[in-house]
């Protein structure tokens, strides 16, 4: 595997209180690809994902050691600017978490807090572009003032992705983005991810192995807080190097 990593962790350890959730994780995530993280529940895949934009900071009694290097900057350093990290590394959550605001204001929020684009038509253009990107513009262009909670779950999840895209991130983290959606919507979101990977680095956590196999270019398998195997998706799924990976993929546990 030869590539310039977009995200690289060096000896990453994370403790929630007494629980050692991530144990010495070293991973390199390639730019402009989809990387899937798989593994049984509680293996630390979501925790790892939430390290990349430091969402774990919100949880009390969390201790992180090691390094997470994004574009040659260690984001764990105390002088790292958390707000610009989170603009650059967007996140889409398990359940669509649109705000109880209009569709327009949901998209506007990020621009506001980062003081991007003050002129009305620039904002409108960004919103149009964002919605077009996720395939919602035609459906929603006349309903921007309506509450985002009136949308279907799939539309809400797309809106959440648009809300991230509008901030011009480089990396998008997706934490089981389809687990609240039906199979048809899931496939549509996956199509969207395939389009997005040309411009963005995507990292997706999923407990759905078929989804990982369908959508990702690289796959990491985690077990009990350790990264067991990382490689080309095809290789991981057809010819895993570790016995544990093989057992998990063939459904012998997990």
């Amino acid at each position: 595997m030869e590539f310039a990593p977009k995200i690289e962790t060096v000896g990453l350890n994370l403790h929630y209180g007494d629980f050692h959730a991530l144990q010495d994780v070293n991973i390199k995530i390639p730019a402009q690809n989809i990387t899937a993280m798989i593994g049984p529940s509680g293996c630390g895949k979501s925790t790892l994902l939430r390290c990349f934009n430091r969402m774990n900071d919100l949880i009390e009694h969390t201790r992180v050691e090691g390094g997470i290097i994004i574009d040659e900057h260690d984001i764990l350093k105390p002088e790292a600017d958390l707000i610009s990290i989170r603009r650059k590394v967007g996140m889409v959550f398990q359940r669509p978490n649109v705000f109880d605001l209009s569709i327009y204001n949901n998209l506007r929020f990020g621009l506001r807090i980062h003081r991007m684009l003050n002129k009305r038509d620039e904002v409108m253009e960004a919103i149009e572009h964002g919605l077009e990107h996720v395939g919602l513009w035609q459906e929603l262009k006349d309903k921007l003032k309506k509450s985002a909670l009136t949308l279907t779950l799939e539309q809400q999840q797309r809106l959440c992705i648009a809300r991230v895209l509008i901030l011009k991130p480089e990396i998008i983290l997706l934490d089981e983005p389809c687990s609240a959606l039906d199979p048809v919507s899931t496939l549509k979101i996956e199509d969207l991810l395939r389009v997005l990977k040309h411009e963005y680095t995507l990292v997706i956590v999923t407990h759905n192995m078929q989804q990982a196999a369908r959508v990702s270019d690289y796959t990491g398998f985690m077990y009990l807080g350790k990264l067991i195997e990382f490689g080309n998706t095809k290789q991981v799924f057809t010819n895993p190097m570790e016995k544990l990976t093989e057992n998990y993929i063939s459904g012998r546990f997990g």
């Binding site: 919100l58 959550f93 705000f99 929020f109």
Partner: protein
């Protein structure tokens, strides 16, 4: 068979108590309406609603409600201006900022605050607050609208704080997570996302607080100076609708014009609090949807 009879009895009792509550409210309203309408047989309703003099024992008596109505409005508005920002800020602090141990202390303190009898607050107002205001603000008397507003604000605070705090805590965690994920600071998430999402509950809390302020009698009677003149400033002695009823009811002859006039004042008060509670209720219902 036995079971069915006891079920029936219990059911009827519950139904009866429900109907009784409705009947009581309705009867109170009818009672107020009947006695107030007796006033308007002899006294013009226009003069009652728009008269600028409340002189119940002069000859002929004048029952103009404007000074009392304005007195209530002044004191209430003053209290709202003080208690709404303070109350919401305190709720935000308790819900979002304070560490757990402080949160628990503050919440029980607020409950104690709610339990202070209003006459005790009035007492504090007389012996401490009004002399203090008189001195620091150079007033001719400390028994004025502002003293009443401050104490009433104090009384409304527990209601506003505890209901607003519930509303803030009830905002789904996911909203905050989403906001932080987009790079919001704690303050931005609180101000732009959590507060709007909690706003129906907060408005309901504020309205219930205001309802309490308008209906409060003892404090305003003790500290606002009880002078039924049209107020031009909150720093003047004034008198509210409630204090008028409480203060004059004991001196009137049952069935006299003055007696009916006080009932009419009560009717006005009833309508005001009814409207406020109605708004609060519809806000709460919207919050729960």
């Amino acid at each position: 068979m036995h079971r069915r009879i006891s079920e029936y009895i219990i059911e009827s009792l519950i139904r009866l108590s429900g109907f009784l509550v409705i009947a009581f409210v309705f009867l109170i309203f009818l009672f107020l309406l009947r006695d107030s309408l007796s006033l308007f047989k002899e006294y013009k309703i226009g003069e009652f609603l728009f008269g600028r003099n409340w002189l119940p024992i002069s000859e002929p008596p004048k029952f103009g409600i404007v000074p009392l109505f304005l007195g209530s409005i002044y004191v209430t508005a003053g209290a709202i201006v003080i208690c709404v920002p303070v109350g919401i800020a305190a709720a935000m602090f308790i819900a979002e900022v304070a560490p757990t141990f402080l949160k628990n202390i503050l919440k029980s303190l607020i409950e104690i605050l709610a339990a202070i009898p209003s006459v005790v607050l009035g007492f504090i107002g007389i012996v401490w607050l009004s002399p203090y205001l008189k001195q620091t603000m150079g007033l001719s008397t400390g028994m004025c609208g502002l003293t009443g507003s401050l104490l009433l604000a104090f009384m409304a605070l527990p209601t506003i704080i505890s209901i607003s705090e519930d509303a803030l805590v009830g905002v789904p965690r996911a909203y905050k997570e989403a906001a932080f994920g987009l790079g919001a600071t704690r303050w931005q998430a609180l101000w732009r996302i959590v507060l709007p999402a909690a706003s129906p509950g907060i408005i309901a809390g504020v309205m219930l607080g205001i309802g309490r302020v308008i209906g409060e009698t003892m404090v305003v009677m003790m500290v606002t100076g009880n002078s039924p003149v049209v107020p031009t400033s909150i720093l003047q002695p004034l008198r509210t609708l409630t204090a008028t009823i409480a203060g004059e009811m004991g001196e009137t002859v049952s069935g006299s014009e003055h007696y009916f006039a006080l009932f009419a004042v009560g009717l006005v008060l009833f309508i005001i609090t009814f409207i406020i509670n109605f708004i609060a209720d519809s806000c709460l219902r919207r919050a729960r949807k």
